[in-house]
């Protein structure tokens, strides 16, 4: 830590005879400390605890101040001195981060050292005003037919990826990142509470596929202080926001928000906030809504597209956190473990997935063919379940045709990882619906 700065500060405090800007630790908790003194502190000011730890003001009480710790290098003891740094708490970022795995304090985690040219990043800005927003109508292509054609994503959209463990959620996000090559998109992959092995794998995968040159991986692990993990997505979005204001198109993947909710619950319960539903604090919705509302098409041309990921248990997307996040996002891609087991990959549940923007972010031909395919597919999926036991020969020709056609439509949606398709290839797949084909599938 900038020791000279602190000494300077202490010196200036002494000169001013201001005894209050130095406080004393009176209680030490695992990730907060309670401090007496500091009577002219500001909310969210950065503080230094006896050069052993760093944190920010999280609560100002009548007689004491609560400090949230983000970095602890040495054991803190009651009686340790606490210096206020007379500035708002901010994180650090370097423009050299492209192609690296970083944290929110300016460290290159693969190289194990700090970047040189760091700039400060606020942990949170004011909400983006409604009138500064433009309409979301430019396409964001993932290269996956089932998404680009049926449940399209636009630049500035927040599209949730939700499903059980091992259903390919992260894979869809990685596919989307890899498909942004040469599309003038900056990608931020935010890994929350993933294992170090997983993050390294993802990093190698992105490097191998040539996506590293436009991607930054921002990681926070469970063996760190929970405040760091909690802050990481906010800082990532602050970085994205400043890029957007410079007219960049940015993609932010947050993997995953359920873990973020759990970390926030842990912090809230530790600070004795009254718990609400499922023991989450009552502002858990706001914690995620203010984060995801950063996703937008800005009127100046830049955009932030967000793909948050949420992990569910036994395919239940109606639990508290999932429904909260669904109600914030502009649509959801629901993954089904049943389809995944059957080898129908990507394992999208086409009935439950939704894109609220739909055709308005698609080109004319994708929109026309896409809505045709979606309607036929949904009708097929419903009819298939009902008529499963019926004798196909006894059905009317109309129904027989529909069942046959539906099966072909579904088959053509199968697509393996890292095999992106262009729009032309997707349109070619479903050309038969409009002009017929030699197998009589029309």
């Amino acid at each position: 830590m900038e020791l000279s700065k602190i000494e300077e500060k202490v010196e200036s405090i002494k000169n001013n005879d201001n005894i209050y800007s130095v406080g004393k630790v009176i209680k030490v908790n695992p990730y907060t400390v309670i401090v007496s003194g500091l009577n002219d502190i500001t909310y969210y000011e950065e503080v230094n605890v006896a050069d052993k730890a760093k944190g920010f003001v999280f609560g100002v009480g009548k007689n004491n101040v609560t400090i949230s710790l983000v970095e602890v290098n040495e054991k803190i003891n009651p009686g340790d001195e606490v210096y206020s740094l007379k500035k708002q708490f901010k994180c650090l970022f370097s423009m050299d981060s492209m192609g690296k795995v970083i944290d929110i304090f300016g460290n290159d985690l693969i190289a194990g050292k700090k970047f040189d040219n760091l700039v400060e990043v606020p942990i949170e800005n004011d909400p983006i005003p409604i009138m500064d927003r433009g309409l979301v109508n430019r396409e964001f292509l993932t290269g996956i037919t089932g998404i680009d054609m049926l449940y399209p994503i636009g630049r500035g959209q927040r599209q949730l990826i939700i499903g059980d463990k091992k259903t390919g959620k992260t894979q869809i996000a990685l596919d989307a990142i890899v498909n942004q090559k040469d599309k003038n998109m900056v990608c931020l992959y935010v890994a929350l509470g993933k294992t170090k092995k997983e993050v390294k794998d993802i990093y190698y995968e992105l490097t191998k596929r040539g996506a590293a040159s436009y991607t930054i991986v921002i990681a926070s692990f469970h063996d760190e202080l929970p405040n760091r993990t909690y802050l990481t997505p906010y800082v990532a979005l602050s970085i994205a926001e400043s890029m957007m204001l410079d007219s960049y198109d940015v993609l932010v993947v947050i993997d995953d928000l359920k873990k973020h909710a759990d970390i926030y619950r842990q912090i809230s319960l530790a600070s004795k906030k009254t718990p609400g539903r499922d023991a989450y604090p009552s502002d858990i919705f706001y914690a995620h809504s203010k984060l995801l509302e950063k996703g937008c098409q800005h009127k100046n041309g830049g955009s932030i597209t967000i793909l948050p990921i949420v992990e569910t248990k036994s395919s239940d997307i109606t639990d508290y956190i999932s429904t909260n996040i669904i109600s914030i996002c502009d649509g959801q891609l629901v993954l089904s473990s049943k389809s995944f087991a059957k080898g129908e990959k990507p394992a999208l549940n086409y009935g439950l997935s939704v894109s609220r923007l739909g055709g308005s972010v698609q080109s004319e031909d994708m929109k026309r063919v896409g809505s045709l395919v979606r309607n036929k597919l949904l009708e097929y999926l419903e009819v298939r379940d009902i008529y499963e036991l019926a004798n196909i020969d006894e059905m009317g020709p109309d129904l027989q045709q529909r069942l046959k056609e539906g099966k072909v439509i579904l088959d053509k949606l199968k697509q393996y990882k890292f095999s992106p398709k262009s729009k032309e290839e997707m349109l070619e797949l479903y050309k038969f619906l409009e002009v017929g084909d030699t197998d009589g599938n029309r």
Partner: protein
């Protein structure tokens, strides 16, 4: 005038040690020399006052001097509200010049029992499934229930489009705790369809702090009250979403360290909801018909907040994920959607009987689905086969192309007269269309043979 000094700071609230007695609940205070930090007084005792902050509290210094700014939040009370967009605190946010004519306080009393008027005139929406199962009257409060992502906001937009176009009354749209993107889209849509200058909009969206999200509803109501009381109109107000109001109040209560009831709601929740709902009433001056979207947390219909809001409603339109899964929009659950108007004395015998027959058919259909899953369709009796096929036609028939969903469905919207709906439903039930394939009833207006 100096009121006191800040001694505690939290995410939403601050406490002020008082140096003056000239302060009351509802007053607006600000940090001296910094209009970024503004507070509303919610509690006063002998030596201190607790306030909630209108904006972020980050950066507020302990010991800051606080001065009084005004007697309470104010909002424009003239025709100048029309065509404009406000934030929850009554400030114009559409970036265009604004000159105030007259301002009043945002807070207001509820309508007394003496002044409440019960209206009797029907109000058709042109949306088949609503007019058939849950018809409206002027002055009705309709709850719009639905979990996340089943098409609630599209329905609201369609209602604005359909009802609004047929009436000369002005409307108020309140965006409370919903998506900013949708707010901006609605604004652009309204501008494009030349409806904007006939309505006013208030936004306290989900990126805003809870004080803004809860105040947006009160601010919007004051505008509806202006249109009703000063202009004598039959006003429409859309609140998207009333659940977010109580959700925001719960966040504030938590920050104020109040004791909460189960699921983290404030203990005076029914009082808080009543102070809003009892303002939305018709009087001799005019009527207020309201559509209130109600978000259902965790798909849990028995949620206390949802139940409390529901008790004020004259009817409900329930959107269902299962119907949405079938690709049938508006994804309305016809078994749970109804209104007080579904009464043989109010909508007439024919309409009433048709509703009963359709519900009987669809109930039997659900039972048959289970039988078919085991035995197959061929094992059904002739009568049940008829029920099965006709029910599927009915279900498809109650889907409808919507004007505002044209970008999504690629089909042009339709306004359907209730008389046509009754004829079509009767014909399907009586077997007149038994030879027509069920897919012919999907996404149509009235049936044209």
């Amino acid at each position: 005038m100096e009121i006191g000094k800040i001694i505690t700071i939290g995410d939403i609230s601050v406490e002020i040690i008082l140096s003056s007695n000239d302060i009351k609940i509802g007053d607006i205070l600000e940090v001296k020399g910094n209009d970024r930090y503004v507070f509303e007084v919610v509690e006063i005792n002998n030596i201190s006052a607790t306030c909630i902050s209108l904006y972020s509290t980050r950066g507020i210094q302990k010991g800051s001097v606080v001065v009084k700014k005004s007697d309470g939040l104010e909002i424009e009370y003239s025709d100048k509200i029309l065509g404009r967009v406000f934030n929850s605190y009554g400030e114009v946010i559409d970036g265009l010049p604004f000159e105030s004519e007259k301002k009043v306080k945002v807070s207001n009393d509820t309508v007394t029992l003496k002044d409440v008027k019960v209206e009797t005139e029907p109000l058709w929406t042109g949306i088949k499934v609503i007019d058939f199962f849950a018809p409206l009257q002027k002055g009705f409060k309709m709850g719009l229930l639905g979990g996340a992502g089943v098409g609630k906001t599209v329905l609201i937009k369609e209602l604005i489009h359909n009802i609004y176009e047929g009436s000369n009354s002005n409307a108020v749209f309140v965006g409370a705790g919903e998506r900013s993107r949708e707010g901006k889209e609605l604004y652009e849509d309204m501008k494009k369809s030349n409806l904007l200058d006939k309505m006013t909009m208030v936004f306290g969206q989900m990126g805003d702090n809870p004080v803004s999200r809860s105040k947006s509803v009160e601010t919007g109501l004051r505008m509806a009250e202006y249109l009703r009381d000063e202009k004598g109109q039959d006003v429409l107000i859309f609140i998207d979403n009333i659940y977010r109001f109580i959700q925001a109040r719960a966040e504030i209560s938590t920050d104020l360290k109040e004791l909460l009831i189960e699921n983290g709601y404030p203990s005076n929740m029914s009082g808080q909801i009543s102070s809003i709902e009892e303002r939305i009433n018709s009087t001799d001056e005019g009527s207020i018909t309201s559509f209130q979207a109600i978000y259902i947390p965790a798909d849990d219909l028995t949620d206390d907040a949802v139940q409390t809001v529901m008790s004020y409603m004259d009817g409900q339109i329930v959107l269902d994920r299962k119907v949405a899964e079938l690709g049938l929009y508006p994804a309305i659950d016809v078994f749970r959607s109804t209104s007080k108007l579904v009464d043989v004395e109010k909508i007439g015998e024919r309409h009433f009987n048709l509703v009963e027959r359709v519900l009987a058919y669809l109930t039997r259909y659900e039972e048959l689905e289970e039988i078919i899953a085991v035995l197959g369709i061929e094992e059904l009796s002739e009568e049940d086969k008829n029920v099965f096929h006709r029910s599927r036609k009915l279900r498809n028939y109650f889907s409808q192309p919507m004007f505002v969903a044209e970008a999504y469905t690629n089909i042009k919207g339709e306004f359907v007269d209730i008389k046509d709906v009754l004829d079509d439903v009767e014909n399907i039930l009586n077997g007149k269309y038994d030879d027509v394939d069920e897919s012919k009833f999907r996404y149509i207006g009235k049936y044209n043979g």
